[in-house]
Structure formats: structure tokens, C-alpha cells
Amino acid sequence: MKEGYELIYKRPGTLTDRRMSYCPGCFHSTIHKFMMELVEEMNIQDKTVGVCPVGCSVFAYHYLNIDMQEAAHGRAAAVATGIKRVLPDRVVFSYQGDGDLAAIGTAETLHACNRGENFTFIFINNGIYGMTGGQMAPTTLEGQITSTCPYGRDVDTAGMPLKMAEIISSFEKVAYVERVSCNTPANARKAKRAIRKAFEYQIEGLGTTFIEVASNCPSNWKLTPEESMKWLEEKVFPYYPLGVIRDVKKPKKEE
């Protein structure tokens, strides 16, 4: 380090040395980084247990230097329930994509939230099934082209894209719901703050915390990482707006 300078930002020690296999520009990597920064900053490595899904992040345990369990597709919410119920003082999170949380795992997701299970959901919503090659997801936008809706999502057949954060925020026992993104430095910093808040609420025992990340998939959207930011801004955010949707400490006033 040069004389007169100080370290401002470095790779967290709680990420393993293994190169993350996610595509260039993918927010999976970004969120992994933020989560491990928080584990380091909050000094909770020895009490964090994560559950990873089936999807691009199926190998999350290669990159996160914490105890982890691999769940069957869609079941992470039930697995996290089991862990948190028998280890209530640990920081437990369930990290899932849109197929895992909003298609095959919807029942487990909704019921865990309804029971107010005291763990954190990190929901990476990129409107497509990445790992399996770019098929339609429950959160694919109307008219968006994927390999199983090559003429664009037809809502008469496939239904409307699911707004999970909004649905989850209707549950009494859910403590905190925020939708974030990492398309700009400001939003990225907000995303990390949101995850931190979720962990803090969990440690306080306030109930389920749910952070939805409006994320990208450059590879299957057939866009460069730069272009994927534009897609998020122009197409995704209007339908999936960013912001705090539920906060048990700051209830919204009735209109």
C-alpha cells in the first residue's frame, strides 16, 4: 500500500478463493459478495447457516465460507425452517432464484412467510431460468422472449408475472420486505444495506425478512452486462419497482 493511503475496500475474507462461475456481470456474484461482506462486518461467520437452491447458484457453497445445506429444488424455505427452528440463535438465510422460490417452491415459500419463520429470504429474480438454458420463469415479463415462449410471454396462457415481494408483504408475520437492484453504485449500496437490515431484524427476532433482488441474466437475455442494466431500468423496474414494501418498524399509514 502506498504511503499516506488507507484501505477503503477489499474482497471479504468470507468468500472462498474459488473463482465464482457466474457469467460476467451477473448479480449472483454481486449479492454473494455483499452477503459475505456483511458476515465479516457483523462478525457472524460462526453462526451463519445458508441454504442454497437449484439454479445457477446451486454451487453457492463453493464460494461462501459458511456452513451450508443444498436443498432440493424449491424446498429451501422448508429446509431453512428446519434449521432455524432447531438453531434459533443462528443467522439463517435461504438463497433462491425465481423458479426455486416462485414456481416449484411457492407453497414452501408462502407458508414459511405465513408462519413468520425467523430467517431471511434472498430472492434473486431475473425473470428467466438461467441454469437450464433460458426458459420462461413465473417472473418473466409479458412479451419477453425466452426459449419456452419464443414469441413472447403470453399472459393468457402463462398468467401475469408474479410479484413475490408484494405477495409476501401481505403476511402479518413478515417483518421486512424490500426490492433492490445492483444496476448502479447507489442501488448496489442500498441492496447491501437492505440485506444488512434483514439480518439485523432476524437477530432481533422480528419475523421473516425478504429481500427481492431485481437481477439480470446477460447470457440468457442475450445482452451485454451494460445492456442488461438498461433492460432492468427500462423494462423491469416499471413492473417490479424498487423500495421498501413492508417494514414492521415503520408501518405504512392507512390512506
Binding site: 500500500m1 499516506g4 477503503i8 468468500l15 460476467p24 454481486t30 459478495k33
Partner: protein
Amino acid sequence: MAQKGYVEIAIEVCKGCNLCVINCPTDCLALNTSDTNSYGLHYSYLAEPEECIGCANCAVMCPDAAITVYREKKEKAAQSKEGRQ
């Protein structure tokens, strides 16, 4: 006058996604178009070191945590400022 900073980018970790480059407020980063890392990717590097202000936007955006950021300590920055006045 903004503080000065500098960054180190891990060449083999960088995937050349360009997000650091486009989010740098002083345009001091660029992809090295004449060289690649062992994965065949054009990695990012500090093309204009004098322009870096150590804001860490690049490191915040970098999905792969490839960037380390250093910034002048406040006393040194104050001295530089005095010197320039």
C-alpha cells in the same frame, strides 16, 4: 479538490464485464483491449491513475470482488489541498 485514490484489479478474477468502467465517475478505468487474462477475457485496469478519487464505485459494482481500493488518508489530503492553494 477531491481526494486521490488508486485501485488494484485482480486480473484473473476480472471477467471484463465493464460495469466498473461505465460506473466510474472520473472515467479512469478501461478494459485492456490489447491483452487478456488466462480465461481469454479483456480485464479492467486503472488506465488514468491520476484521475482516481478512491470512491470505490468500481469495487461496489464489481460482481466478482476483484477490486481493492485505496484512498488518501484525510491528513494527507488536507496537506495536498493546502499545497495546491
